[in-house]
Symmetry: D2
Subunit: 345 residues, 4 copies
């Protein structure tokens, strides 16, 4: 079997695992007060081009979204996102469980549109009965999106401008940030994200770590008493240094970028190969998630030896599928997969 | 420096880490649907003497307590525990954050007393205005307790009997269960816990794992749709197999028990040595946490080369301190510590 | 000025107020344990044709929706409704504040469609990753809807059947129930509602009471320990008897129906008059809320001496307006309003 | 029967009811945007000696406490109060239901002690692990307390000073404020409360209104977007003017004070009579709640013709009872009660 189900099927990138092994017997205090974590904070701030700011380490994406959003929102405030936003669909109500409404706008291939956002905000503030309504008070976007697509810098700035106009923090979910930063076509760097987003996170779990996400903000005052809020959400790891150690490894010798480049390159190779073979691309993603519309007969055949996900319900004759690459995907995996996809007759 | 601050200062026990390394490149599906996790479930149920039941893996103690309690309680239900209970003091309001009152009773060296519990329940149900009050609807105890003390089997059964009488589930926090099971004086086995508790967890984080806790119940119906509730709490690990792999290692060749025996043996050696040197024992703990009343002069001297915790505020002449052992503590560590504790004049 | 802004602009119907005055000096125990409340419960159950069941009295619509939904749903469960549902738009996030997702489906003039609901449920249960999603676990509809429209009995039964198939309680918001029951065209009686809905409420605030809503269920087990949950929501009135007294008055000599008949008759007279004058009807409502598309010039003129609401944003040339009648509306009010609406040139 | 069970057994004081009747047919906009409410706000601010500030009207005590506390607290913040505080005991977990821990300190006849509060705060801020603990972030006291006792001005100022030192708002529950202001011995006026408390409420339900409480603050910024938070809690009355009308009546011709004076005078008469008859006073309350220790034989005899409450469990030979007076209590009621209390043999 070869696996393209998702980007969290293997353990950690060997360089990350090695760092964990090398430091295993060193004793340090808990909860992120150790020196590994301090060092990782400094390294990340530097990589983000931030002279000041805060970095917090959590364990997974839903946990990070839930904890950050709960800290940023007050009572009767909601978070605006795309209908396809992870927080709106696949987090089992984690945001609502903390009392916050997720306010979903129609998106564009997973992307929020600045002008749609502006119209939504205008409508809210024009409505004189808005005391009876949830106030849209922050914006959530993902980069890359759930469809593998990327914002361009101008689009991010336009969203940021609407956010500023309405005094809403902009939060960027970077669960797969490595694949966005490494995309050949992108004009958005880590420093851009750090400058445009009020709060964002650098995804580890899906980008080579065993687990872990790094929340970054240049406005420390936006996340007051955040460690205590993490604790309250069960998100404060006892052996906090495990996160520091892993992110130090990810940011050493550009490993984070290398992981992104590797996965994206193989994803492009797959897309190119499928296009050559005449298959339709469902969404033209420049990152490690690739979506195709395949005949059900091919899907059935592939299922015997390839792991991947059906994207939505099975159609009558053809269906949408998703293939995901990561650091553990090999050239051979791509060649094998393409080999199984004979040219349609 | 030698460290006795807590039992989560080093990484994982080498056998656990080895298991993670050995399986690192194997790909598996996420969220605990992998074969490592299935196997770990079976191994744990067997060790618990349970023919049926459920096992769920989470990442840390507060997260586990919060998620289990939130699942067990309904609106207007509260959880009864000791004043010193971890959920009442050191979880930053994690239980209340989900809407549940923590109802704390005076304890006895960290232990809940069955007759105090019974009186509390009688008072509640005798009060005709109890519609205006939170209903005590489950009981939380820890074994070992936050003071390192242990229940005897009779005490657990007595608490269980009160719980049954009032139809309340009994939940046992086993964050340090290894040290309880391995204590020389205990008459409580893992099977006893599994039989007496409605839900409990086998602590990994403080007992040799990198991180991870295994929730066990013989009544699957008590935790309906629990994976979804875990997800909602940000407690569902993407690479779920990391937890399965670690618990398989902990339950292979009795590693979990070995870890407990090692730490308890060194803790007893420390206690004996301190007693011989004439120091007062604050609580006579049979497990890996040891509490002494030491002169401030000695505390100051030790602080130069030993890590440990002050337990409560510093007194005028003497204070309470805690020393904790774990798998990474060595005989030499104990000998060095005792060497520093010269006989008081 | 004549007022058609809403159905809660005056105090109570004189017969209701008289009942409050008549009983003012009588002393009774609090929280609904008094004899007025008991009697009102019996009268309501009888009017609903229920031999057994429960009736609870709360103070307002949002409070009632919030408290009932919070009791019916468990963690990770959501409530399905129309996009225009009151709980989705105008309750300031009251449902989400208790941790529950509102899952809004496109509606049809304020009505939920049974087949759309069924498709939604099928999609949820077909999705193998639904552990990551909020479970749709109850259905909310309003009758009359927020647009004044009414379900026919067949439509309610079809929704009920989908609910049964998926074991979801059906909850009917009857904030304006009087106007639905009294509508000339309806085939839905109070007994029908009581038989089809699992839980519903009979609106008082908008139907002649000073304030108050009566929650009715034929399944007492669906709302366990409900008074305590009411208390927790701040929804348990100290002088509970005020609600009993008012509902006794509303159900004496068919007052509730008389109020509905009066308001509906005047609403029909208004609709007919406007139609005769050539104005377009926005939604053909058979109840006390009437929606018209009027030229802005007429709207401006009316605003000088008539109270009413703009429904949505003001258009370029014409806009949608809502006129509402109630027990305090008079024939003269309608004649005056129609008099102001000269035939458009 | 004569009734001393509580101060909410009758309807409204006749002057309040009359005001409701007089205004019943007047139409006004909803949700407190009407002119009655505006006028009541102005009258209350003036009575409080406040040139600026905000007044909000809610419906009941628990609802008011819940909504104010939820607005004042952020995540991971708790509210400090007495063990006997209403929010800690008799509100069914309403505060915790919103995610906030109630942190109860031992009290002194229902009163919080400033020095106990200061010690508690010092302990919290001295503990270096306080990130793992709920932060005490506001203080709740009641005046009169649940035991009928009153703070003197110095005590309130001392509590206020601790609150300021730790930047915590001080919130005063004035459910029975009329009886406190009218007490013969008090040195605390309404203006004092308004000056010392950051937020407080003037109780209506227990002091002559049908229902209703007026929240007052001189710091409008402490309760941002409060109407929306009220809506979210189901605490925004549709016919908001009912609250404005009642409070206008309560503050007209000193009615609020007259109600307090009447009830307190009769309560003192009762206390004096019982003392003369040799009965022990349980708590020496200067307000409308009186607590005595009576022989069970007398309690049984009284129960035949007098309504009152047992305070706590029935003792072997004697028990504590509570008698409450209000505007509807008459001289004759007191004389009858005392007549039944023959001198003990």
């Amino acid at each position: 079997m070869i696996y393209f189900n998702c980007d969290y099927m293997a353990g950690a990138h060997p360089e990350v695992l090695e760092a964990l092994c090398d430091t295993n017997l060193i004793k340090s205090v808990g909860y992120g007060f150790d020196s590994f974590t301090s060092e990782a904070r400094a390294v990340i701030l530097k990589a983000c081009g931030l002279e000041e700011g805060e970095v917090f380490f959590l364990q997974g994406g839903t946990q990070t979204n839930k904890t950050v959003i709960d800290r940023l929102l007050s009572r009767n405030d909601g978070v605006v996102c795309c209908e396809s936003g992870h927080i709106n669909v696949h987090e089992a109500g984690a945001i609502e469980a903390d009392g916050h409404k997720v306010m979903a706008l129609a998106g564009n291939n997973g992307k929020l549109d600045a002008s749609a956002l502006e119209r939504y905000m205008e409508d809210f503030y024009r409505d004189e009965t808005n005391e009876h309504m949830v106030r849209p008070a922050m914006v959530y976007i993902s980069h890359p999106t759930e469809y593998g697509t990327l914002y361009i810098r101008n689009e991010l700035e336009a969203i940021r401008d609407v956010c500023r106009k309405y005094s809403m923090p902009l939060y960027v979910d970077g669960a797969r940030l490595a694949y966005g930063l490494a995309a050949e076509v992108t004009d958005v760097s880590l420093r851009d994200i750090a400058e445009i987003a009020d709060v964002f996170y650098i995804g580890g779990t899906k980008c080579g770590a065993l687990f872990g996400e790094a929340v970054v903000t240049r406005h420390a005052h936006l996340l007051p008493r955040f460690m205590s809020v993490m604790k309250l959400h069960g998100a404060l790891l006892a052996k906090g240094r495990l996160l520091g150690v892993q992110f130090l490894a990810l940011f050493k010798d550009d490993l984070y970028l290398r992981i992104g480049l590797h996965a994206d390159r193989l994803a492009m190779k797959l897309k190119e190969g499928m296009r050559e073979r005449g298959y339709r691309i469902f969404i033209d993603s420049p990152t490690n998630q690739q979506f195709f519309i395949l005949p059900n007969s091919l899907i059935d055949k592939l299922s015997e030896s390839v792991g991947f996900e059906l994207w939505g319900p099975r159609g009558e004759n053809e269906s949408i599928v998703r293939f995901v690459t990561d650091w553990s995907t090999t050239e051979e995996d791509i060649i094998s997969l393409l080999g199984l996809c004979s040219y349609p007759s």
